[in-house]
């Protein structure tokens, strides 16, 4: 009797499952036949009244039926899901050309980017960053660097003077905006003993304003002092810098020059980055010379060592080199910019290009 009801249930369920139209219908059928209050449970309610031997047979039959229907139902559900996925994968095309949701993006100033690129290279070459004040005493900016008072070398750097004077030397001494980062050399050497290997990036000031000069700009100063430091080392470090900054095929040349605080002094040129030293007469970057002046350098002048007490024989026979470069010039060369003043107007259309 109960077996027949199970058989009838099996038949009805098979037919209905086969005819199910979608996932929802399949789920309804699962509830109808296999749910807590479903048809199968309904039939099995009477199980308890059956004799034990019969109960066992019915139980096995019912479990088999349940397993069969579950398999059928999950099979059909899978088919429907697969069909649905199939439809989705072949459905409407998303407009991928619509702009994405973006957060506004700012920009690091090109001078900062250049400055960071330069300092990164020198950090790798073993130079540590040092800092100094921008409002500086005449002594550190000039005198200790072997610029005597009333010397024409001071004309190379037109100076902004600050109202008031410093009395630290026991006599009135001008206070000024540093005209170069070189006073950081003096401060570093007064504070520490050799060996010393520093770079000093920062703002400097000169009384000038035109297409190639702004009253404020940035420099990176370098100084290495130790026993046995030579001009060959100066060339080695600066060659390495030039190749790292301008590219591995960059050519350099060193020319004699004059800075009061170095002797011998040298200027470094690199092969023109635009005409590639073809020396094209019309090259607007190198003006046809094939070379671009990049930085000044030299071996630390004995008078500078004297000023900071590095001539002390107990330190051994120390020698050193120093160099300094203008960051804006590097930035202008890197980006092909021809008016330095643009760098300090902070036009966001300009800043957004970097």
């Amino acid at each position: 009797m109960i077996q027949e009801r199970l058989e009838a249930l099996r038949e009805a369920a098979r037919q209905e499952i086969a005819g199910a139209k979608d996932l929802v219908a399949a789920e309804e059928l699962r509830i109808k036949y296999l749910g807590k209050k479903g048809a199968l449970s309904e039939i099995l309610k009477v199980m308890g009244k059956l004799p034990p031997n019969e109960r066992r047979a019915v139980g096995e039959g019912a479990n088999a039926l349940k397993a069969e229907l579950e398999t059928l139902l999950s099979g059909i559900a899978e088919r429907f899901e697969a069909a649905k996925l199939e439809r989705e994968l072949k459905g409407a095309q998303l407009d991928v050309t619509l702009p994405g949701r973006r957060r506004p993006q700012g920009h690091v100033h090109p001078v900062t980017q250049t400055l960071e690129a330069v300092t990164r290279i020198f950090h790798r070459l073993g130079f540590e960053t040092a800092e100094g004040p921008e409002i500086e005493r005449d002594y550190y900016n000039f005198e200790a660097l072997n610029f005597p008072a009333d010397h024409p070398a001071r004309d190379m750097q037109d100076t902004f003077f600050i109202e008031g004077e410093s009395l630290q030397l026991g006599r009135p001494e001008p206070v000024l905006l540093r005209t170069h980062t070189s006073p950081v050399q003096i401060r570093a050497m007064l504070e520490r003993k050799p060996p010393l290997q520093i770079i000093a990036p920062g703002r400097v000031y000169r009384w000038d304003f035109d297409i190639t000069h702004t009253p404020m700009f940035h420099q990176v100063e370098g100084l290495m002092v130790d026993r046995g430091v030579t001009m060959a080392h100066l060339k080695g470090i600066l060659d390495a810098f030039a190749r790292a900054f301008f590219g591995s095929s960059t050519r350099t040349r060193f020319r004699p020059s004059f800075f009061p605080f170095t002797e011998p002094s040298a200027e470094m040129d690199i092969g023109c980055i635009l005409c590639g030293q073809a020396s094209a007469a019309g090259c607007r970057v190198c003006k046809g010379t094939g070379w671009l002046e990049i930085l000044g350098s030299g071996m630390v002048h004995p008078n500078v060592f004297r000023a900071v007490g590095y001539d002390d024989p107990t330190l051994g026979d120390v020698t050193g080199f120093a160099f300094g470069m203008g960051v804006e010039r590097l930035a202008m060369l890197s980006y092909g910019l021809d008016d330095i003043r643009m760098l300090f107007e902070n036009d966001i259309r300009f800043l957004a290009q970097f």
Binding site: I162, M216, P256, I348, L351
Partner: protein, 716 residues
């Protein structure tokens, strides 16, 4: 300086076998940088000369003449020198007595002995002032000098040839035929050749006659004793004045002349001076049809002792980093005019030629050897570093991080000049300013005390260009005078206080017009950047630097809106800066629109806090049990700060409430006037077990009633 190629060739014993370009390169690579080559304008009229534009560095006055360049060229090429010939018949003796000789009619006295090392003079009589011959005017024109007359032109010619400045006086205009080299007297005046009446300083060195100043020594002559069409007797001066003295006088009176340029750098007092005097005197006599009076007056105030330097041969290689054989060093120095005496295997005594005023020590000699050999002969090698590998300091890392985060938040980095209009800074309450004595403009005459002035100028400029949204920041220093007493002792303390700041500015629409945002109408809640964007940027920076526990409290700051500004205070009580709306009165004065927000923080204090936080960073175990979130809404008076409400919630919520996050602020109906609704999401969590629904509900109800009791808040 302009160098005529023809003239240069005349001073060499054989012709240069170099093209102009090769010559320019040789000179450049030896330290006489050729900045330009002027090809002949026309071959026909004798203007077939090539002119080199040579940039002579301030240490090389010896190269400020054709003879000087020829000297370097001779050392570079091995070609001999051919000195300009002195016309026959000139008496080169220096004497003091004798009839018919210069000593009878001229008397030179150097009173200011520390300002004038040597003063030599000659007298040329019976000259006739006339235009110079063509060959001379062409030479001068090639060097960019305007021809005047045969007498003056000769002095300029010899200047360009030998580098010694000369001055020609009309002898008959000099009272008593006297030449006195002295300091100017108080209130003394002199009309210089440019027609300006100069009031002299007691620091000015002058050439005077028996009565008054006749020339600014080494700078410019005076009108009274100027060579004029009626001049027949010329007193020719060749002197060596103190370089700093000439420089101060030239600067004081606004002059930069061919003469002062050379005197400031130093002339060849021992030899070149008299050679130039004799050559010019002879030329004047020749071109002016006169006769050089016998004898030369020669006053020497300080002895002309040649300098000598002990040179160690191995020092050359040690400084350059390559082998330089002693023989090569000797050859180069000799070619440059140095004399080596007492040579041994290890060194020699090197006597410096009198024209090389720049050579003071051994390093200078090394440079001479290096530049003639060529710097290309020095190898390029990396030094062995004895310094432990360099790392970014925590300060540098924090600064880079700060930039990164702000750029990520949509801010462009600005770099402004460090000087501003002092009136703007004073309006911001800066009573003491670091002021420039010689500013470019009055509007840039004080060192900034705030970054906001520059940032607001950037905003104005960008608005003029039609920007609809501006977000800018700057990392830069501000400057204040150091209290006078504080800096007297230490040798290396700064003279002013400089503090690194982070400044920021926001203005304009928050979103660009994009399809993903329904475009909010004007005045809509989301349309424009506001205080909370500025505060959010500041909070983002603080989080990125690991700086926690900063309190924001209402504050009044100069330049900021008194009701829309917060001061930032660190956990240790230090004030870090402020964020707020621009004071509308300031905005109006600058003609800026409403809706400008600023922040300005002490970057150094932030970096210090950041370093401390980084050092204290340690792992905390993640929670083991899940959290349950319940919302809490309270109605409080409009004036009630949110943070006070949140603190009460956290306090009464202990220990189960771990976080309370505000997610809505509502004002309006159906709330009564003067009230606002604050909605918080409370996070319940226990470190020991999973909380049951019932537990959370009980705790939540307790918190609700306590918050109510503490704040008098109405619950919703």
């Amino acid at each position: 300086m302009k160098i005529s190629l023809t003239w240069l060739n005349e001073l060499l014993s054989e012709p240069l076998e170099l093209t102009v370009e090769e010559l320019a390169k040789r000179l450049t690579m030896a330290g006489l940088e050729v900045e330009g080559i002027h090809e002949p304008i026309a071959k026909v009229v004798g203007l077939d000369d090539v002119v080199l534009e040579v940039n002579v560095t301030p240490n090389r006055p010896d190269a400020l003449s054709h003879w000087g360049v020829a000297r370097d060229l001779a050392a570079l090429t091995g070609i001999g020198l051919k000195p300009p010939t002195l016309p026959a018949g000139i008496d080169t003796a220096t004497d003091r007595e004798g009839a018919g000789r210069v000593v009878r009619v001229v008397r030179v006295v150097i009173e200011a002995k520390d300002r004038c090392q040597r003063y030599a003079a000659r007298l040329i009589e019976g000259v006739k002032v006339a235009p110079s011959p063509d060959w001379l005017t062409r030479r001068l024109q090639a060097c960019g000098v305007r021809p005047i007359n045969n007498l003056v032109d000769v002095t300029n010619y010899v200047l360009m040839e030998l580098g010694q400045p000369l001055h020609a006086f009309d002898y008959d205009r000099l009272s008593e035929g006297r030449v006195v080299v002295r300091l100017a007297r108080e209130g003394e005046t002199l009309k210089t050749l440019d027609g300006r009446e100069q009031v002299l300083s007691q620091d000015d060195l002058v050439i005077a006659d028996a009565q008054r100043a006749q020339a600014l020594a080494g700078v410019m002559g005076g009108e009274t004793s100027e060579v004029n069409p009626g001049t027949t007797r010329v007193l020719l001066e060749a002197a060596a004045f103190s370089p700093p003295s000439v420089r101060r006088t030239a600067k004081r009176h606004g002059f930069h002349t061919e003469a002062s340029h050379r005197f400031e750098r130093g002339v060849d007092a021992a030899e070149g001076l008299v050679r130039a005097l004799d050559r010019a005197a002879a030329l004047i006599a020749e071109l002016g049809g006169g006769k050089v009076k016998g004898g030369r007056w020669d006053a020497v105030a300080t002895p002309l002792v040649p300098r000598s330097i002990a040179l160690r041969f191995d020092r050359v290689g040690a400084l350059l980093g390559c082998d330089v054989p002693p023989a090569e060093t000797q050859r180069i120095l000799t070619a440059l005019g140095f004399t080596l005496t007492e040579p041994t295997a290890v060194g020699a005594k090197v006597t410096v030629p009198s024209y090389r005023v720049d050579i003071e020590g051994e390093a200078d000699l090394v440079e001479e050897v290096a530049r003639i050999r060529g710097y290309a002969a020095i190898p390029s090698e990396l030094p062995p570093s004895r310094v432990p590998s360099a790392q970014l300091s925590s300060r540098e890392r924090a600064e880079a991080r700060m930039r990164q985060v702000l750029v990520g938040a949509g801010f462009d980095e600005a770099i402004n000049y460090s000087f501003n209009d002092p009136r703007e800074l004073e309006a911001l309450g800066s009573r003491t300013l670091v002021r420039l004595r010689n500013p470019l403009t009055a509007e840039s005459s004080a060192m900034r005390t705030h970054l906001s002035v520059g940032l607001l100028q950037c905003l104005a400029r960008n608005l003029r260009h039609g920007a609809s949204a501006v977000r800018l920041f700057e990392v830069g220093r501000v400057y204040r005078p150091e209290p006078a007493a504080a800096n007297a002792k230490e040798r290396i303390t700064p003279v002013a206080q400089e503090q690194l700041r982070l400044g920021g500015l926001l203005h304009g629409s928050r979103f660009e017009r994009v399809w993903t945002h329904a475009s909010p109408g004007p005045g809509a809640k989301d349309a424009s950047l506001d205080f909370y964007d500025a505060k959010g940027a500041v909070e983002t920076v603080l989080e990125a630097l690991g700086v926690a526990g900063v309190q924001f409290s209402p504050a009044e700051e100069a330049g900021y809106h008194p009701r829309a500004t917060a001061r930032l205070v660190a956990e240790d009580g230090a004030v870090l800066g402020q964020v707020g709306a621009l004071d509308p009165r300031w905005a109006k004065r600058l003609e800026l629109p409403a809706g400008v927000f600023l922040f300005e923080l002490d970057a150094e204090a932030l970096f210090a806090l950041s370093a401390r936080a980084q050092a204290a960073t340690a792992y905390r175990p993640l929670p083991k049990y899940p959290a349950v979130t319940r919302d809490l809404a309270v109605v409080v008076p409009l004036e009630q700060p949110q943070e006070a409400v949140r603190q009460v919630i956290l306090e009464v919520g202990q220990p189960l409430v771990g976080a309370a996050q505000l997610f809505d602020v509502y004002v309006g109906k159906p709330l009564p006037e003067g009230k606002k609704n604050l909605a918080f999401a409370l996070e319940y969590r226990s470190p020991e077990r999973t909380l049951t629904d019932e537990e959370v509900t009980r705790a939540h109800q307790e918190i609700v009633s306590q918050v109510n009791a503490r704040l008098g808040a109405e619950l919703r």
